[in-house]
């Protein structure tokens, strides 16, 4: 990073979440000078994805709750009388109730480290924060380490875990999250290697079984060692194939920086069983679970939903009733009603008929664009998407500064407009617009704001929740409330080919609107679908249980949902300061795109929002080196076009791969820094 930043920008953006990144790209694209800052050393804020060790550092970071930057006061002298300052938040308080569970055994090696890992944020690790204790007293960061819960009947009934002493709940607040401690706790509660080997010999009569269990034996150290194979999203979302984010990615040509994988199946949880939902024509045709008549009724209803507006008479009488009631009138069997309500429309029992129809339509419109389900998932995790927009911003001259922040913004008393910001080094940077992510605002600004919460769980499991011939499935499962008043839980299960988890494991994301802590909200669903990892083979009576995937490692946390807040709720906000919200609990990214576009349109009402980036060969450079540049671009772009078409024909998916060459070239020629962007692509 440069020693000091330029002192003048058009737009200063604080936070690199999705809406901020889109705004940054949109502003940079139309020639605005953009400074894009994030206090963290990674992109995305709460939209980020982490390797396993990265996630551990992130957890550690929240445990310690350090100040985001060291305060310096020298800048105060620079202010003149016509100016006043508004301080920003020094702590990020968007994550709460973190709970980590490790079910796999630790090897004796203590210092397991991720292969090739870089310590994510050495600054924070060494940071000695004296206010930590005080802070945690005010708002105890509920961090616990659990061994297997003895109150859990499912688990305690297992023969391997009957000893109450070893399975005792070790609910110790403020326990250091260091691996060492955890290893002590977990090894005591998991059976020793000897017993498991003994069991293996017992099973050796059935060779296949033995082989399988040997294959499945996963240890904590193997997860840590291959931690770089993980890309764990903090928010779990998918892209609707015809949603606004895909449209934006395509329209703006940002899609060239990302690769996607189609979600391969939609699942549903009904009568205690996970089933695949036939939702496309091919699915319905091939489905073995539906009768002929069911097939027809389902197809008929779905076809109607596709353009339900044209057939208003079909639902006129049910306009004011709920969707679930309306479905009952459509000659659909209860099982089909369940499919449509929970897996296709994904609305609650109380959603109105119109909302249900609209949601079904949205689902169906996205279906078949890129595959047999309506959803895409970005390879390497959702955290890629904000980075793609940042890259686009950098290509057009935006400047990036990570691990940097803004202490306050300066307001001109007369005009009541923000005229500058003071960065974490005390430098005054003037700007015409200041865009800030909600979590950076001080409590002073947000005292009237009422936040909701999102409950999240991340599980690493050993097999899929619905096994099929292929072990590379990307699935989405919506679990309706088990009891009244409980939230609907959305589950996304990712396989290793999405580049988010290591081979032979699955990464499971659970998300719901919070009603209590994340663990309280999500654990009932987790218990229905999974069992904790047990190394030894289970007795025959538990063989049914074996069909359930086993949890190797689990994380619960709550994330603040700052969406849907009216601008007027924020105190003392100058008219040229705009607030971006963090992620919402919904499956799609519609909210973020909508917010970004709306803020951009307020900033530059006459400008187009993210017009297509020109082809590199159409860009005119300084006269003297036009020739050489042109030649270079032409040759490389030809190769690229060939590659792209080959790829498309080979793997009939979409998506042109992010092209490092092109990004690098244009950035160099654009002449601006953008080094942060160039650096961030360090994986592999």
């Amino acid at each position: 990073m440069a020693e000091s930043l330029p002192s003048e920008f058009d737009v200063v953006i604080l936070g690199t979440g999705l809406p901020e990144a889109i705004i940054a790209a949109a502003c940079s694209r139309i020639g605005q000078r953009v400074l894009h800052i994030d206090v963290k050393n990674y992109y995305g804020g709460n939209w980020a994805s982490f390797t396993f060790s990265g996630l551990l550092s992130w957890l550690e970071d929240y445990r310690q709750q350090p100040d985001l930057y060291e305060e310096s006061t020298a800048w105060k002298d620079q202010l003149d009388k016509s100016e006043e300052f508004v301080l920003l938040n020094k702590k990020n308080k968007t994550i709460q109730n973190i709970e980590v569970f490790c079910y796999v055994s630790q090897d004796s090696e203590n210092d397991v480290e991720e292969v090739g890992a870089l310590r994510k944020n050495p600054a924070f690790v060494t940071c000695d924060d004296s206010t930590d204790a005080q802070d945690s007293a005010e708002e105890p960061p509920c961090q616990e380490i659990h061994s297997l819960d003895s109150n859990n009947s499912e688990i305690s009934s297992q023969p391997n875990n009957t000893d109450p002493d070893t399975t005792a709940e070790t609910d110790v607040p403020d326990v250091n999250l260091e691996m060492q401690t955890q290893s002590d706790v977990t090894t005591s509660s998991t059976p020793s290697l000897d017993t498991s080997e003994g069991d293996n010999t017992k099973l050796s009569t059935e060779e296949t079984l033995a082989l399988e269990s040997a294959k499945r034996k996963i240890t904590y150290s193997s997860i840590v060692k291959e931690g770089r194979k993980f890309n764990i999203d903090l928010v779990s979302k998918l892209l609707y194939s015809r949603g606004s984010l895909i449209d934006l990615l395509i329209k703006s040509n940002v899609s060239r920086y990302a690769e996607f994988k189609n979600v391969t199946r939609i699942l549903t949880f009904q009568n205690g069983r996970v089933e695949q939902v036939p939702c496309s024509r091919a699915d319905v045709f091939a489905s073995k679970q539906l009768t002929m008549v069911e097939k027809r009724m389902l197809m008929k209803f779905l076809t109607f939903c596709l353009d339900y507006e044209q057939n208003a008479e079909e639902y006129q009488d049910y306009k004011d009733s709920v969707f679930s009631e309306y479905l009952k009138t459509k000659k659909l069997t209860p099982s089909l009603q369940h499919f449509i309500l929970h897996a296709i429309a994904m609305v609650s029992e109380t959603a109105s008929t119109i909302d249900g129809l609209r949601a079904t339509q949205h689902f169906l419109q996205s279906l078949g664009r890129y595959g047999n389900t309506p959803f895409l998932f970005p390879l390497y995790g959702l955290g890629e998407i904000p980075q793609c927009f940042c890259r686009m911003c950098a290509v057009f001259g935006g400047i990036y500064c990570l691990r940097h922040s803004v202490q306050c913004f300066i307001v001109d008393k007369e005009s009541s407009r923000c005229k500058a910001v003071i960065d974490s080094l005390g430098q005054k940077i003037s700007c015409s617009y200041f865009i800030v992510e909600d979590s950076y605002l001080s409590e002073e600004n947000c005292k009237n704001v009422c936040y909701r919460q999102i409950s999240r769980a991340v599980l690493i499991t050993d097999q899929s929740i619905l096994k099929t011939d292929s072990d590379q499935q990307v699935s989405i499962l919506t679990v309706p409330p088990i009891e009244l008043g409980q939230p609907t839980v959305s589950i996304i299960e990712l396989c290793s080919s999405t580049m988010t988890c290591k081979k032979d494991t699955y990464l499971v994301h659970l998300t719901c609107v919070s009603t209590r802590t994340a663990k309280e909200d999500l654990e009932p669903v987790v218990q229905k679908l999974f069992i904790p990892y047990a190394e030894t083979g289970l007795e025959s009576e538990q063989e049914k249980e074996l069909e359930k995937p086993q949890i190797l490692w689990a994380l619960y946390f709550n994330m603040r949902d700052s969406t849907g807040i009216d601008r007027s709720s924020y105190e003392a906000l100058p008219s040229n300061v705009y607030v971006c919200s963090g992620p919402d609990p919904h499956l799609g990214n519609e909210q973020a795109v909508k917010q970004a576009e709306s803020i951009f349109n307020q900033l530059f009402p006459k400008e187009e929002f993210c017009p297509p980036a020109p082809n590199p060969e159409d860009i005119v450079y300084d006269v003297d080196d036009t020739e050489s540049q042109d030649a270079a671009f032409t040759s490389s772009s030809e190769i690229r076009a060939e590659e792209a078409s080959e790829e498309q024909s080979a793997a009939k998916g979409i998506d042109v791969r992010a092209d490092a060459r092109e990004g690098g070239d244009s950035m160099a020629s654009a002449g601006e820094s953008g080094d942060a962007v160039a650096n961030h692509k360090t994986r592999e």
Binding site: G31, R281, R296, V620, S649
Partner: protein, 565 residues
């Protein structure tokens, strides 16, 4: 605004593109010229191979160049070792692949690929099959690729079972795929042949396939590919040619042979032989179609005086194609005519659209189609299939229901109402023929049936009286000339304009054509060739309004005693 990236204007872009195109064109023409010169001079070398490579890479449909390349390869084969040729051909295949990517439906490229593989010392067939898979994944209906696949499968003897599962995979992905369904219809009889009926499959497999097709049309009833496959499944073997009827007339001194299919009897050939009391009889065969077209009916004149009444019995035997079909008929003393024919009722000839030995299968198919029809009352494929199934099961029993379904069918698909009317006419005629045969009669009443056209004239060879009144017939078609026993024809209240079929009918005596649309005297010309016609009723035809109608008719038809206008 500052900092904005400058982008070429559209004019600049256009200009740059135009220049590029010009450059390309120059290169292309130059290379093409060189190639043709070299061909003229028979310079079959590596360089020209390279040049044609470039041109074909850009335009794979340049057939002449593919020919030239084959010439070069054939020339090389004389000079080079097998190893070298193998390498050359291998390179040719990868070049072809890139050409196919330019145009996956290039006739020249696919053909050349077949040629290369047949010339190659060691062809790698599995790679070719893989190539087919990839191209079919891009376009599952690329018939060029399907053809090529069949070529590969044939040469490399891929087991049909594997191919069957391949089609299954494609159908699972997207069942709107005629090519795959069709391929199944070719593979299944090879894998699971029905021992009794050639070209069909065993019942067990049939049931599975029916279920597959049902899955498809219950999922999307408007997709016709599955319906057509369904019809194939329920269809039956093509019947072999047989002789339906042999008829001999003592007075007329002629003999006719009616076939199940139109056949051609070449003059002077041994295709159709006639024996009288075991001894061959030399006759010359002619069809009623005049020209040597294929025809259902073949006639011969018997030698004059052959059928004298002195002989107690004349036994005729006809032999078709060395005994592929034959029939006998005896004419006894005292009889003017004699015949021997197959019965339409016994042979179930009219169930030919659909037929499975076990009617239980048809019955259950009918039930599920009816179930679907309840859900989709307006689906024409479903309605049509129901009709066909009912025909196959019990044509007379379901007659009323069938007619109702036709009514619905015409309403939901008015664009094809004429086709449905014709189909309906066909079924109604079949039913009438069946009824007539049950009654053992030579009189057929087809009045008030709403017929739009006539069918199955080959089944009406012995008819003496026919009533076609009150239908929607526009013509008395050419095929009616087969009705050589017809004496009385009533065709009142139609919209008949043409009488083409009423010619050379040896026994026709009385024709009633009241209230039709005969406009010109000349339209009645065919009647002049019917020797016995004596009564003709033309009341209510436009022709009657023309002046001098009577006198002109007398001129045209001098033998007809009573012409009522």
């Amino acid at each position: 605004m500052h900092g904005r990236i400058k982008v070429k204007t559209t004019e600049q872009q256009e200009e740059a593109k135009r220049k590029e195109r010009e450059k390309k064109l120059q290169l292309y023409t130059a290379a093409t010229n060189t190639i043709f010169q070299k061909r003229e001079l028979q310079e079959l070398d590596q360089e020209v191979l390279e040049l044609t490579n470039q041109i074909l890479g850009a335009n794979p449909d340049f057939a002449t160049l593919w020919n030239f390349r084959r010439e070069i390869f054939l020339h090389f084969e004389k000079e080079k070792s097998e190893d070298e040729m193998q390498k050359l051909y291998k390179r040719e295949l990868s070049h072809l692949e890139s050409c196919l990517r330019v145009n996956p439906k290039s006739y020249g490229s696919w053909h050349h690929r077949c040629w290369v593989l047949d010339r190659m010392p060691e062809p790698d067939w599995s790679r070719e099959l893989e190539l087919c898979n990839r191209f079919l994944e891009m376009d599952e209906r690329n018939f060029h690729c399907w053809d090529y696949r069949r070529f590969v499968v044939l040469r490399s003897e891929v087991p049909p079972e594997e191919e069957l599962s391949f089609t299954h995979g494609l159908i699972t992905k997207n069942f709107s795929n005629y090519s795959s369904w069709h391929y199944r219809s070719k593979l299944l009889p090879r894998i699971h042949p029905d021992p009794q009926r050639q070209g069909r499959v065993t019942e067990e497999v049939l049931l599975k396939e029916l279920e597959l097709a049902q899955n498809a049309f219950f999922t999307d009833p408007s997709d016709q590919s599955a319906w057509l496959y369904h019809r194939w499944l329920l269809g039956r073997v093509d019947r072999e040619v047989s002789i339906l009827c042999i008829f001999v007339s003592r007075g007329g001194e002629w003999l006719s042979v009616g076939f199940s299919h139109p056949v051609t009897v070449c003059p002077g050939s041994d295709d159709l032989l006639l024996f009288l009391n075991g001894a061959p009889l030399m006759v010359s065969w002619r069809s009623v179609e005049k020209k040597n077209k294929s025809s259902f009916l073949w006639l011969c004149d018997l030698p004059v005086g052959l059928l004298s009444d002195l002989c107690p019995e004349h036994t005729f035997r006809v032999l078709w194609k060395d005994g592929a079909a034959q029939k006998e008929c005896a004419l006894y003393r005292g009889y003017q005519e004699s015949w021997n024919r197959d019965s339409a009722t016994e042979e179930q000839i009219f169930r030919c659209e659909l037929s499975v030995e076990k009617s239980t299968v048809l019955q259950s198919e009918l039930e599920s189609c009816k179930e679907l029809q309840e859900l989709e009352p307006d689906n024409k494929w479903c309605l049509l299939t129901i009709i066909l199934l009912m025909r196959a099961l019990d044509p007379l029993g379901y007659e009323k229901e069938t007619l109702d379904y036709f009514q619905t069918l015409k309403a939901v698909d008015p664009m094809r109402s004429a086709y449905f009317n014709d189909l309906r006419s066909k079924f109604l005629m079949e039913n009438c023929i069946l009824k007539m045969e049950y009654a053992d009669s030579r009189v057929i009443d087809l009045s008030h049936k709403g017929l739009t056209t006539l069918y199955h004239e080959e089944q009406l060879l012995l008819i003496t009286h026919m009533n076609l009144s009150t239908n929607q017939l526009r013509a008395l078609p050419r095929a009616l000339v087969m009705l050589r026993c017809l004496e009385v024809l009533e065709a009142d209240d139609n919209i008949i304009e043409s009488l083409e079929g009423l010619s050379h009918l040896p026994k026709l005596e009385e024709v009633s054509l009241r209230n039709n649309c005969i406009h010109r005297i000349s339209d009645l010309q065919p009647l002049a060739s019917c020797p016995r016609l004596s009564i003709l009723n033309l009341q209510g035809n436009p022709v009657c309004d023309s002046p001098n109608v009577q006198s002109e008719l007398v001129l045209l038809l001098p033998r007809v005693l009573h012409i009522i206008t």
